[in-house]
């Protein structure tokens, strides 16, 4: 009887402890999912709505996807216009969406901007949604995510803030690493030719100028005039290397290469992680290695 009593008292004590259940989070992009896990630790359960290796520009959630969002306390969106379906997500979650990129400074695509050597007319004036290609931006994003989690779970605020600070420190180290790596490329050669304009924030942080043949999404097609302008720019600037992307059709870049003699580096990860490169940090290091070795290969 006394053993039975002791067991019941122990069970009671266990149940009265104040460990909160983890909060359910949905990330609309695997890079945000990675960040959410770093900031949330075991106090969150994170689900990625978009699979690694999928194209976020062409993604549309199904009715099942939208219904599954109802159980999430926090939904993390990239923002800056990346998710054209965001109004549907807001309606499905009654507004419980945090646009992480909204609090990050924007880059606007403009032929007048020193960041862009040339760009298709249809991209002019648009906000570049690819803010994650800057470790500094990711450090700021970590705080946004921590604030979102703290609002949903005030008891975990100190833990979320502490982990966000750790992420920010790692992003600062990643930024310094990138600065040191790209220092091997002379400033006059820092011109990044890619399939679409996904690397504006990278270019801004590391002194490159961007040329993206297809505008802000890989689905956009350049006109014959855009292609001719890109050919002229590549020849005038004496650019020798271009970088295809994992999720973009290489045909447009191949057309450019035929006209200009451009060599190709290895593919960059522009819009998503992959099964083999499954964290943000790994993606940045992969891209830095691809860019630096691509330029060194044509010296």
């Amino acid at each position: 009887m006394s053993r039975f009593l002791f067991l019941l008292i122990a069970l009671g004590a266990l149940a009265t402890s104040s460990v909160a259940a983890p909060i359910e989070v949905t990330a609309l992009h695997p890079i945000l999912g990675d960040l959410a896990r770093e900031v949330g630790g075991d106090q969150v359960v994170v689900r990625d709505l978009l699979a690694k290796g999928s194209d976020p520009h062409g993604f549309t959630p199904t009715a099942t996807d939208l219904a599954s969002l109802k159980q999430s306390k926090v939904v993390l969106a990239s923002g800056k216009g990346l998710e054209s379906y965001l109004p549907k997500v807001r309606a499905a979650t009654q507004g419980r969406v945090v646009e992480v990129g909204r609090r990050i400074p924007s880059i606007t695509v403009s032929a007048e901007s020193p960041l862009f050597l040339c760009c298709p007319k249809h991209a002019q004036g648009a906000i570049d949604p690819h803010w994650w290609h800057s470790p500094k931006n990711m450090g700021r994003a970590a705080r946004v995510v921590a604030d979102a989690f703290a609002e949903a779970d005030p008891s975990g605020k100190a833990d979320y803030r502490r982990r966000a600070q750790n992420v920010a420190k790692r992003m600062s180290a990643l930024d310094k690493f990138t600065q040191k790596q790209v220092a091997a490329i002379p400033m006059r050669d820092r011109k990044l030719v890619t399939a679409h304009l996904a690397f504006g924030y990278f270019c801004k942080d590391y002194g490159f100028k961007a040329i993206g043949l297809q505008g802000l999404t890989p689905q956009q097609k350049p006109t014959a005039k855009d292609l001719a302008e890109a050919v002229a720019t590549v020849k005038k600037e004496k650019i020798r290397v271009a970088f295809p992307e994992h999720l973009a059709n290489p045909q447009m870049l191949q057309s450019l290469a035929r006209e200009t003699g451009l060599k190709f580096g290895r593919p960059l990860l522009a819009d998503n992680l992959s099964a083999e490169v499954s964290t943000y940090e790994a993606m940045m290091r992969h891209n830095v290695d691809v860019i630096v070795s691509g330029y060194q290969g044509v010296k």
Binding site: G12, A15, V74, V97, V98, R102, R103, I104, P105
Partner: protein, 145 residues
Amino acid sequence: MRHWPLAEVGVVIGLALILLVPLLRVTGQPAQRPNNPPPASSAVEVGDMTPCFVTIRSPHPLASVALANNGETIFRSEEAATRLEVDLAFDLSERHLELGILATWEAGSPESAIEVVLEPDAMDGRSVTLWGQEALDDIARFTWP
């Protein structure tokens, strides 16, 4: 014949009621919803004020630091620290900000520096470094194009 175990039943019911309290706490709370997101704008503003994450750093521990804006002290710390972080909000509608910085280091500290980093929502970060020895009373100016 066995007696009816009233005492044991009473204990079990009592303990079940104790278990009920935390279970209700976990399952009975209404879902906490974040505030509706503010309307889209080039900077995330609350009224005319832009939320701003401020970092204050020094290579030597600061004995005290205070920030003032428009003549009003908006932040003060007397915690001995080489790094402080605080969320503040400023009117950045003119793309310009002046902050009064009052700082002290411990007596005997060598000449040192204080860096103030501002990261306003949706705007580029800016930093200013000021120098002083044991005490500093200066203005940090920040501008955005």
